[in-house]
Amino acid sequence: MAPPQPAWVIDLKSLNSRPKAPSNVADPPGYSTSGSSKKSQKQITPPTQTETDDLKVKKAWEVALAPAKSLPMNMIMMYMSGNTLQIFSIMMTAMLFTNPLRALSNVGNTFSKFDGEATHSRLLIVKLAYIGLQILTIVIGIWKVNAMGLLPTTRSDWLAWEHAPVPLETSISNFR
């Protein structure tokens, strides 16, 4: 079922039924009631449901692909900020994680306005693309964190937990 039309749509549609202007006041020169009403009649033809859906999906795609636009910028910024532990690079790296995570937790909300009976299935792929791009942003973050040396990926990271076993034998000596 199509949603109820908003009041302004009804108003616009019932433009013709508007009470005629009082006859004692002349129309302004060049104003043609019939002509304008004819034109507007043609324009205000309500879009079909498919058209609305297409539009919604298109808009959804725009939202979904927005993170892709910021990806190169993020990469450049991360590259430029260096691997040292400074407040800015730490904050920027943290943003790389917090923003996508927040976005991921709000996927439903973000696309709810585009959601409809018809668009629901089509939005799925859009959402997937959106999620994929957010994950890509996180991957950049992980890459950055790794470059900063914060990931336990090397042998030295586990060195503190490695201990030489207690030797089996003991030795007692005095060489005086």
Partner: protein, 956 residues
């Protein structure tokens, strides 16, 4: 890369980065955290110790002395402070009787003193200790005499050569040869303007005297004074007397110079010792004593010499006790001072009764050895005395009348062994107590805790006092507090227990400027380094001194009380070691004899099963006979305190190699990280083996030194290296810790000089390969060649000879190590960070970024000494530091270092900077001030803000 580690690493790195640009000792810590006990050593001979005016015309004299460690110097008699010090030679702790024949100190004219040691003669400025000139003779010096009128110093060499040296310039004025080089010169005497030189002619068994003209050196006359048999020996005769003295087995013979007249005094010289004193040419004073300390006797005789005839005047009373004598010319008469443990008695030449007795306020700690006294008779007839007494424990005491003015702990200069004792061991550490509390049930734990708190109340007064101090300390430098009453939270307080060659055990406190805490007599008169089997820690606050005679002394190291003395029948050649039970607190000492098939000993002879358990997996190792290598044994206790020994391995040096030293890792040597993280974040695993022993051998024939790294469990040779072109006569020293060793030797190669070589050992040559390091149940016996450690070395050239090497140790081993060097030429104790002595430093190129990250910098073969950064002793002048010992404090950053030999020097060092303690420069005032300011501000602002908030609410 470092964030992924323990937070401590983080701190450490910050610290170690700082350390590269920081001072070894901060200027505000110098003289506060370190101490130096400036020592001379025990005065050698009463004739070489004297009061003397430092400069002509100056009133007041200094006390000059020559010690058994060949140090000469001046002591201020008022307070016992050192005025100056010079070293005559690199002497070891040797027999003073032997030494006093070849070394002596004499007064000279114009405020100069002259020293002789073996072949070297030196004239010193008495006030400053500067050398005026030095002269080195070709043979040993027999005697010297200063001729005031001629301004000459005449020297007689053993072979009969006589040289006159000008006092101002040190040039030879004349020289002559007495005899044909066959005679043995012994003694100068000056009578008027005739200089007599006494010589013995071994060939013709004659004693002869040659008269020499002081001005020209011409030999004027020769007398043959008498028969000088092969058993005869010279007696040191005061040069002022017209006599020469010699002795045979039962006579003291006094020959009047220039005549055949010889007076013979019957003294059994095997039983009695004697010494001749004289201050004027007509009075001879002979001091006698019994040679054996068990039957102490002493007496003395006055003789007058008139016209060449020696006659006995009076005899001072014979006493069955040790007393020592000194003769003094007060200007108004000659006095003899007689000193025993309790009193100083003054005799004059007229009667055998004392003219004055000064009773000392306290008995001297031990018998006097010899004394130098100055007696003054005032115009009103009152007698005053000043006596520098050398005691049998090696210390020197100055007594003025009936007061002890000062005591110098000179015995510490004759220490033969030293060991740290942790004062905190006695108190159960808090951690242990808490664990014990946890183990109990609730009620018992509660009771235990309350009792502990009550127990700890004893620290409260000290804490309050200390609290006051620390509050005051905010505003100014804190006064040193008595360490005994306040707790020592950082564990800086350690006792160093010394065994001296005089048979005493002495402990000094490192937290209290090296003050002597206690001293105890072992009841042995003479202990040499070879007599000490060891000083061992034996449980909480207990040390055990084991002598090669088999005597075992158990001493409470905190109070200095002798707890137990035991005698075990052990062979003098046995090696003594301690065994700790792995499960209980039991300890034993075991003696492993060198002879094959002989059983060992263990003491105490109890808890045999426990010892069996403790020894079941243990390998004992010791030097093989004649130092030919290292021998390993397994042991099993049996009845009667004996050990059955089974030789398991031995490593013997080839016959042309001589053992120099064996070093093992310090007893407390934790390895915090078993790997070294490289710049690319891979790991080089260290070669971790607690059983390492580094054996250094020298081969003089090929001038090489050989280094063998052994596993003392299996006897396996893990690594060897050879240095050719080494000077094997110079000191070769080494230290080993963790997975590395450092050694120093003198190289005659193209890079001539002292070289310092560092070798690090890794489990394998490849990165990230722990080898068998992490595998469990790997036995030391199971070591195929493929598992030998991978060693990397770097050699550095050092500017000065190094006589001792050691390494710092800290509680957990996280702090970077520093290698400590004793450099006698500089008079310093230096610390070189292990990061500098790093074999992975890139050679001939700048380090890459990764290497920089690892902390490596370009290798420079020349290891210069930057005193500001390296010297732990800063501006102090250390004399004779021969051994360095280190121990951890309770702070991870800090290691306590004590160097000993002649001086005792102690300090605390932070190789990675003091990352866990606030420095003295920390502004507590600013901190407390700002806290108070914020507090006061809050106090004022709070009501204001509240009022405003309430106002706002009402206004809405």
């Amino acid at each position: 890369m470092w964030l992924r580690h323990d937070p401590l690493h983080y701190l450490l790195l910050a610290g170690s980065l700082l350390s590269s640009s920081c001072q070894a000792v901060f200027s505000d810590e110098a003289f506060h955290t370190d101490f130096q006990v400036q020592l001379f050593g025990t005065a050698l001979d009463p004739s070489s110790t004297f009061f003397h005016q430092a400069a002509a015309g100056k009133s007041g004299s200094l006390l000059y002395t020559l010690s058994n460690r060949l140090v000469i110097g001046a002591i201020n008699p008022k307070d016992g402070a050192q005025v100056w010090r010079q070293r005559l030679g690199e002497g070891t702790v040797s027999e003073s009787e032997e030494l006093s024949k070849s070394a002596w100190l004499r007064k000279s004219k114009d405020g100069r003193i002259v020293s002789v040691f073996d072949k070297a003669i030196a004239l010193w400025d008495a006030a400053t200790g500067r050398a005026v000139w030095e002269y080195s003779a070709s043979v040993t010096v027999a005697d010297i005499i200063t001729l005031e009128a001629e301004n000459l110093l005449v020297v007689a060499l053993k072979g009969g050569e006589v040289k006159a040296i000008k006092l101002e310039s040190g040039e030879i004025a004349w020289e002559t040869l007495v005899g044909e080089g066959r005679d043995v010169a012994s003694n100068f005497n000056l009578i008027g303007d005739r200089l007599f030189l006494t010589l013995s002619e071994p060939a013709s068994t004659a004693l002869k005297t040659v008269v020499i003209s002081p001005a020209t050196g011409a030999q004027l006359e020769t007398f043959v004074d008498g028969v000088f048999g092969p058993s005869d020996a010279h007696v040191l005769t005061p040069q002022i007397l017209p006599l020469t003295a010699f002795r045979d087995s039962d006579h003291l013979k006094l020959n009047t110079l220039g005549t055949k007249h010889t007076k013979s005094l019957a003294v059994d010289s095997t039983v009695h010792g004697y010494r001749l004193h004289a201050v004027t040419k007509d009075t001879l004073f002979v001091e006698f004593w019994a040679k054996s300390p068990d039957s102490a006797t002493s007496w003395a005789d006055f003789y007058t010499i008139k016209d060449g005839v020696v006659t006995k005047k009076i005899s001072l009373p014979y006493e069955n006790a040790i007393s020592v004598f000194s003769l003094s010319d007060s200007g108004s008469g000659i006095f003899a001072a007689r000193v025993n443990r309790a009193e100083i008695r003054i005799y004059d030449t007229e009667s055998d009764t004392q003219v004055k007795a000064f009773e000392l306020p306290k008995m001297l700690p031990t018998e006097p050895l010899h004394v130098v006294a100055e007696v003054v008779k005032r115009k009103d007839g009152a007698i005053a005395v000043r006596a520098a007494i050398t005691l049998a424990d090696g210390n020197m005491v100055l007594a003025r009348n009936d007061q002890i003015v000062w005591t110098r702990q000179e015995a510490l200069a004759s220490a033969v062994a030293a060991e740290f004792v942790d004062v905190h061991e006695v108190e159960d550490t808090l951690e242990k107590t808490l664990h014990a509390e946890e183990a109990n049930n609730l009620v018992a734990a509660y009771i235990k805790r309350v009792t502990r708190h009550i127990e700890e109340l004893k620290y409260l007064p000290g804490w309050i006092a200390g609290f006051k101090e620390s509050i005051l300390g905010i505003f100014g430098p804190a006064a040193p507090t008595d360490a005994a009453v306040t707790k020592d939270p950082f564990g800086y307080r350690k006792f160093v227990v010394f065994v001296t060659r005089f048979g005493w055990v002495t402990a000094v406190d490192t937290a209290n400027r090296g003050e002597v805490v206690w001293t105890i007599n072992l009841g042995k008169t003479k202990i040499l380094e070879k007599d000490i089997k060891g000083i061992f820690h034996f449980g909480k606050g207990i040390v055990l001194v084991v002598l090669s005679s088999g005597d075992i002394y158990k001493i409470d190291a905190i109070t200095g009380k002798g707890l137990k003395k035991a005698v075990v029948q052990i062979l003098p050649s046995a090696s003594v070691m301690t065994v700790e039970s792995p499960t209980t607190d039991d300890r034993w000492i075991i003696a492993v004899p060198v002879k094959e098939g002989v059983k060992g000993w263990f003491w105490p002879d109890e808890k045999e099963e426990e010892l069996t358990k403790a020894l079941s997996k243990a390998t004992l190792s010791r030097k093989c006979e004649a130092s030919s290598g290292i021998c390993g044994y397994t042991a099993k206790p049996t009845v009667g305190g004996r050990l059955i020994l089974n030789p398991t391995w031995s490593f013997r040096l080839p016959p042309n190699q001589k053992m120099v030293s064996i070093n093992t890792r310090p007893a407390h040597d934790p390895i915090a990280s078993i790997g070294k993280v490289l710049g690319d974040r891979s790991v080089m695993y260290k070669y971790v083996n607690p059983h390492l022993a580094l054996l250094i051998a020298s081969a003089p024939s090929t001038s090489s030194i050989y280094l063998y790294l052994l596993d003392t469990v299996s006897g396996a040779v893990l690594h060897t290296s050879v240095q050719s072109d080494a000077d094997t006569t110079r000191p070769i020293v080494a230290t080993i810790a963790e997975n590395w060793y450092v050694y120093s030797y003198y190289s005659n190669s193209a890079a001539r000089g002292t070289q310092l070589v560092v070798t690090d050992f890794y489990a394998s040559a490849t990165k990230n390969d722990p080898g068998r390091l992490l595998q469990h149940n790997i036995s030391s016996y199971d070591q195929p060649r493929s598992t030998s450690p991978y060693g990397i070395s770097h050699a550095f050239i050092f500017t000065h000879p190094i006589t001792s090497l050691a390494t710092t140790v800290t509680r957990q081993g996280i702090t970077t190590r520093a290698v400590l060097l004793s450099v006698p030429k500089l008079g310093s104790l230096l610390a070189i960070n292990k990061r500098t002595l790093e074999p992975r430093r890139p050679v001939g190129r700048e380090p890459t970024a990764e290497e920089k990250e690892e902390g490596l910098f370009k290798y420079d073969p020349y290891l210069g000494v930057d005193h500001g950064r390296a010297s732990l002793s800063h501006i102090r002048d250390l004399v004779g530091i021969e051994k360095i010992i280190t121990t951890p404090s309770l702070l991870e950053s800090t290691s306590i270092v004590v160097g000993w030999g002649i001086d005792v020097f102690g300090t605390r060092t932070n190789p990675s900077e003091a990352f866990d303690v606030l420095g003295r420069g920390f502004n507590k005032l600013a901190l407390i001030g700002s806290v108070l300011a914020v507090g006061v501000g809050t106090l004022f602002l709070r009501p204001m803000v509240r009022k405003k908030q309430i106002g706002q609410r009402w206004a809405q």
